[in-house]
Symmetry: C3
Amino acid sequence: PATGTGFDVHGFGPGNHVWLCGVAVPHSHGLNGHSDADVALHALTDAVLGAIAADDIGRHFPPSDPRWKGASSDRFLVHALALMGAMGGRLVHCDVTIIGERPKIGPHRAAMRARLADLTGLPPTRIGVKATTTEKLGFTGRGEGLAAMASA
Amino acid sequence: PATGTGFDVHGFGPGNHVWLCGVAVPHSHGLNGHSDADVALHALTDAVLGAIAADDIGRHFPPSDPRWKGASSDRFLVHALALMGAMGGRLVHCDVTIIGERPKIGPHRAAMRARLADLTGLPPTRIGVKATTTEKLGFTGRGEGLAAMASA
Amino acid sequence: PATGTGFDVHGFGPGNHVWLCGVAVPHSHGLNGHSDADVALHALTDAVLGAIAADDIGRHFPPSDPRWKGASSDRFLVHALALMGAMGGRLVHCDVTIIGERPKIGPHRAAMRARLADLTGLPPTRIGVKATTTEKLGFTGRGEGLAAMASA
Ligand SMILES: [Mg+2]
Ligand SMILES: [Mg+2]
Ligand SMILES: [Mg+2]
């Protein structure tokens, strides 16, 4: 048994939705990034890669590579899980915490867990999706971006 | 086996003590929050909820609900553990990291572990309580608030 | 089975290299700290201590103690692992995430994993070393310092 952890940040920019856990969430801004900037999927992908000690998302999908421009982050997670499978591993549980003031996550949680269930093959009962604010403190508190922490 | 993780932040405000791991720690400020703002118990409660994929503390105890105004955060953790038990789960270990410059945690660590042992039923030897500063950097470094990270 | 987590921060100061996972990485700055300020080893040491509920690195190696001035952080991790062994425990996996804009970690990852393998006795296949930026946000984004998160 092994538990990997991941962390990621993306900053807000122009847009009308953010991608979080593979779900488009309407918002006054988008998230900047080379891919779709799904900070939650990036943290979770890194947690999976950490569990199998297979480097990090930046090594597998370098932001400098035009192939990943605007890419759906779904493929990053699917790739990490395929590596895990190839090494004889199996994901049994995952947990994501989205850190920021807005958008509110609660109304989208069920959709996020369903999407992660699709991507991972886990039942939703093994998929935690949580959110917390930083009470107006720090860059997340000032609404400059979102952070995410994950374990797998 | 599953490991959940949690994270929380509360900002300093007027007061002469902060609640951390269910212990009142004398300090030049208090922590602002709808409940007792025990950032360590909130992170740990979210870690427990993450381990059983049962949403987050904000869903179970919305800050908008007057019932939780000034509430002791003990009840949040106890509630999460009851949910875990109802699902056939059992907590075997937990670990909390309190992030901030002050107050110093060391002198209160034994009391915190004893309190968490009371609340969880775990022996103190399965309860980690750690602290770290951020070396004057960021909002914790500027003394604007405290953060906590937990696993369960 | 138990999973501990750790977190640490150090600020940049004068210097031409930073210590990360026991490896000297050339950089335009050093990291300030009483010891060698290896933020990654400190987070990992705290994760090990959290897994065995043996307090934190600050209690075992107080910054106020002149013995640890300029100390190699290798000894902190080795000490934590010796404590784990004395309690009948055994490390089976560890994972570190280094958070900051620079220096780039990728070119040094293999050396870091090899060094951690030396220190822990684990095969590199059980040692995750990851890095992420915070997209110019927060103190890590402004280049004021580095943070690290670890699990063990
Ligand atoms: Mg990212
Ligand atoms: Mg809270
Ligand atoms: Mg340190």
